[in-house]
């Protein structure tokens, strides 16, 4: 029963956001796209957490997707759908190579390598003249036929990706992921290929991050190396932590809440970093299961009273 509650919750939030695009102004529409993309990033981070690893390289794959899109739009005239697919594909290929090397190490080593990879790529972008160097790439617009509906398209696609990740998590493969997190030696002893499965998990999450990056590039029209530093991974972590990492609903709720609050705070002249930092610190210390955990706790209390 609880399995379906999360599906329903995610779809409900998606519908609410779509309604926001339909009835809100252009500002609300932009905000909805940010929320959808942030939710995908947080879900991708959570997906790798299923095998027990914190994937700090997710910002790097987001950047790869965005830059691939930017490059194709500026240098080759390919159809929109193909551009999107190629961006996801590039993230997939890079993530298989990167994961194939780094997933041999675990815990803090994996995390720090992801962190270093993100920074190395950021430096790489600033060095590449073809990628616009320090100033980045401009003029990344969605095609004319989609322009008017781009906000709907992005929101729907983002939520399909999130539901897809949830589907994999609930499948047989997803159960192996969680078993690896709990005890990988047991998984190996019953004949599963642990390393291979880890790379698969990492590659799926990274492809999704790459697609999100591509959508971000089209939505933002402009990308620069500074958008894809390790701070992006920390932001995704903030959404995940505030929402709660145990439930697939968590990253979506966290993204919706934090993006709205940050946008409101910025309009009042507040500092985004302080807000996100405070949100992470407070949720780690006082709300370790996040919003989703809090909702669960309230429900259980109600049930025990009744």
């Amino acid at each position: 029963m609880t399995e379906y509650k999360e599906w329903i919750g995610i779809v409900a939030i998606a519908c609410a956001l779509l309604a926001g695009v339909a009835f809100g102004g252009s500002y609300i529409g932009t905000l909805v796209v940010w929320i959808a993309i942030a939710a995908v990033m947080a879900s991708s981070l959570r997906f790798v957490l299923l095998i027990g690893e914190l994937n700090f390289a997710s910002a790097a794959f987001f950047g790869i997707g965005a830059y691939c899109t930017g490059y194709i739009v500026n240098h080759a005239d390919l159809p929109f759908v193909l551009t999107l697919a190629l961006s996801g594909g590039l993230a997939l290929v890079v993530s298989i190579v990167f994961g194939g090397i780094t997933l041999k190490v675990k815990g803090p080593y994996f995390l720090l390598i992801g962190f270093a990879f993100t920074e190395a790529l950021r430096i790489f972008y600033t060095r590449m003249e073809a990628l616009g160097g320090n100033s980045g790439l401009v003029g990344i617009f969605p095609p004319a036929w989609l322009d008017a509906h781009y906000q709907y398209f992005t929101t729907v696609l983002c939520f399909l990706l999130i539901l897809g990740l949830l589907g994999i998590e609930r499948s047989h493969l997803g159960k192996i992921f969680i078993a690896i997190r709990d005890n990988e030696n047991v998984v190996r002893s019953v004949g599963n290929r642990v390393f291979f499965t880890k790379v698969v998990c990492f590659a799926i999450a990274s492809t999704v991050a790459g697609l999100a990056g591509s959508l971000h590039a089209f939505a933002n029209n402009v990308i620069s190396p500074l958008d894809f530093g390790f701070m992006l991974s920390i932001f995704a972590l903030a959404y995940l932590k505030v929402g709660g990492e145990d439930s697939p609903l968590g990253p979506v709720m966290g993204a919706a809440l934090l993006v709205c609050v940050a946008s409101y705070a910025q309009s009042l002249g507040g500092n985004e970093h302080i807000l996100y930092g405070l949100a992470i610190v407070l949720s780690v210390l006082f709300m370790p299961k996040g919003l989703a955990g809090l909702a669960d706790l309230l429900r259980r209390k109600k049930e025990s009273v009744a």
Binding site: R127, I280, V281
Partner: protein, 291 residues
């Protein structure tokens, strides 16, 4: 040949700061099994407090040794106070929870960086040089300022290594790093050692920041570049290993000065990353890692 010596000296001088920085990281990892991202912020905070106090003291004490000493103590005290608060209210509650405490430290990075930008502003706060001029040494031109920095860092590193190697406290700390449960069975007060280890690391970060302050542009984001390098040094050397931190820092500094000189600084950064990947392929736990 002259060129090579000059580069070697530069590498030595950069590595001095990296060593102080990564020693702190590896100490924290050793005693708490925590990857502390906020280490770079303490480094920056030390430098900022130093520059602020120096500015305030300038009318009465000038820019001499006395002002530097007082400001240095102020920076150290401020960082220790912040470290104590972070430990007591944060890391202590998440003892040995790697992911949780890492996320906490990532949150602290954002929080501190935002707060420091608000309080100190984004402008560069110059710290006056303590010594002017250059000295001729072994046929090399070396600025006095950097020479003092190097000597101080080397002495401090030696002191820390001696402390860890020969004193009762150092032995207890290493025992905790190897196996904290076995250490507790031997009657070592784990919590106290963990607190002291954490504070020592904070003091190291502050000292490193204050040493680099006169030769660097002191801004609220000063620590970020050192954070990446420091972590890479620790990963290459093996997390929790003291020797590893020193060796890793030397390797990074050598790459940075040689590749940076013969090619260009951003190629050096990429080269450092490639080296890490290669090292991890060959030795997944780093050169001196054992956990």
């Amino acid at each position: 040949m002259q060129e090579v010596f000059q580069l070697l000296f530069t590498a030595l001088q950069i590595s001095a700061v990296y060593i102080l920085f990564s020693l702190g990281l590896t100490l924290i990892f050793g005693v708490l099994k925590v990857v502390n991202f906020a280490h770079g912020q303490l480094f920056t905070f030390g430098a900022l407090v130093l520059s602020l106090t120096m500015g305030a003291l300038a009318p009465s004490l000038g820019h001499g040794w006395a002002a530097y000493l007082v400001a240095g103590l102020a920076g150290l005290a401020a960082c220790l106070a912040v470290g104590l608060v972070i430990y007591q209210f944060g890391f202590k509650r998440l003892e040995r929870d790697m992911t949780g405490s890492f996320i906490l430290s990532a949150g602290l990075v954002l929080l501190f960086e935002g707060l420091m930008l608000e309080v100190f502003g984004g402008a560069v706060r110059p710290v006056p040089a303590l010594l002017e001029g250059n000295v001729q040494m072994l046929g090399l031109m070396v600025s006095r300022q950097r020479l003092v920095l190097l000597v101080f860092a080397v002495l401090l590193t030696a002191a820390i290594l001696t402390l860890l190697r020969y004193t009762r406290f150092g032995k207890a700390l290493r025992a905790v790093a190897i196996d904290y449960e076995a250490a507790m069975l031997q009657g070592i007060a784990y919590r106290r050692i963990a607190l002291y280890g954490f504070l020592m690391a904070c003091a190291l970060a502050a000292t490193a920041g204050m040493l680099i302050a006169p030769v660097a542009a002191v801004t609220p984001t000063l620590g970020d570049a050192y954070l990446v390098k420091g972590f890479i040094a620790v990963v290459v050397g093996g997390m929790g290993s003291i020797v590893g931190a020193v060796a890793g820092s030397l390797l990074i500094a050598l790459l940075e000065s040689f590749v940076g000189f013969y090619f260009d600084p951003s190629i050096a950064n990429l080269a450092i990353f490639v080296i890490v990947m290669v090292v991890l392929l060959v030795k997944p736990k780093g050169f001196f890692g054992n956990d």
